[in-house]
Symmetry: C2
Subunit: 205 residues, 2 copies
């Protein structure tokens, strides 16, 4: 509480503050435009224009539309696109394991609070659920489907995997049911990965 509350203002007011302001304006504009037009309908150009920023800065700061969306709407600590690339990059028969490790690796260190905040936002605002769905089904899903290369109902498989991932987050970080909430990563991998693997590449009936 008293760690330098008073002397918190040494930062230079020059370019950095200006950059932060512009970033904040971009994020605010992005939230508005994504909510109004959905993920697919929103353009980087229109978001940048609303914030009075050059569109090139979106790529510079956020790596493009997906990164901006992840930061502005989902408030994810990582770009989901990069994450999916990572998941799809290793051996196909270990994708379940990679998903569990990556998911817990992202959220465990920050205590799951941001996951809970995302779920709060998704459940409280239909618009957030809509734009998340638009983003997931329109963008991530296609990548995952192409990446896993399973011919039998790949879209259903991807959404089944999503259900297990959402649920793992809900039980671990939101409702915190024990013992799952504090079970170590290795045990979680052994328990959950085969189920994800079955959804993505196994026999689902």
């Amino acid at each position: 509480m008293n760690e330098g509350t008073q002397q918190a203002e040494p930062r230079r007011r020059g370019r950095r503050a200006g950059g932060e302001d512009t970033k904040a304006a971009l994020l605010a504009a992005a939230r508005e435009v994504f909510m109004q037009r959905g993920y697919e309908g929103a353009t980087v150009r229109s978001i940048a224009a609303r914030a009075g920023v050059d569109a090139a800065m979106v790529n510079h700061w956020f790596g493009g539309k997906e990164g901006l969306f992840a930061k502005a709407v989902l408030q994810l600590p990582v770009d989901p696109n990069t994450l999916v690339d990572h998941l799809l990059s290793g051996p196909r028969e270990h994708i379940g394991e990679r998903i569990v490790r990556t998911f817990l690796g992202v959220w465990d260190p920050i205590g799951g609070g941001q996951f809970a905040a995302l779920m709060r936002s998704v459940t409280a605002h239909d618009q957030v659920a809509d734009v998340l769905r638009d983003f997931f089904v329109g963008t991530l899903l296609k990548k995952v489907v192409a990446g896993i290369g399973t011919e039998d109902r790949p879209e259903l498989r991807a959404t089944l995997a999503a259900s297990q991932i959402f649920g793992m987050g809900m039980v671990r970080y939101v409702v915190k049911f024990e013992p799952l909430a504090s079970t170590d990563v290795e045990t979680m991998v052994q328990a959950v990965a085969p189920n994800l693997q079955r959804y993505l590449t196994g026999d689902i009936g």
Copy 2:
């Protein structure tokens, strides 16, 4: 599960209006007391006293503390306790299937809106998450653990199953990712039941 579970009430229309007011008062009192004291700490006596109602009416109307909690806090359309009894009553090797059928049988007909409302409440209010955890871990979990009769880490298994159930509800009713959101019940059973079955009675590593 609806084989005569709840038809004990030939309800007379005369007393109904007054009864509805008293019921509403009981539900409001229950919400307060459960939030203040948690599921375990709340007593039927204290809730009834706060509502100015005879404690016997709680049993009469809600079948006891669990039923009152389910209605007042979770706003579930069914008593979770009755539901768990049903799930545990059939062959052990088909419990995964019964869970999927029962879950979708409860929420699909009402369009999932109440499930979404419950998730909104759970994510928005720490107290609701706390009391749900208290109820789940303190009451339901013990029943499920005793009922499935698996010796290896039954509590972890029950929370793993909970993760898949929560996630199925989130993807089907809250974020509504297609195709899972509108996949027919039989396909859902074939896809999801074996994963639940593995969590509850299979090899989880």
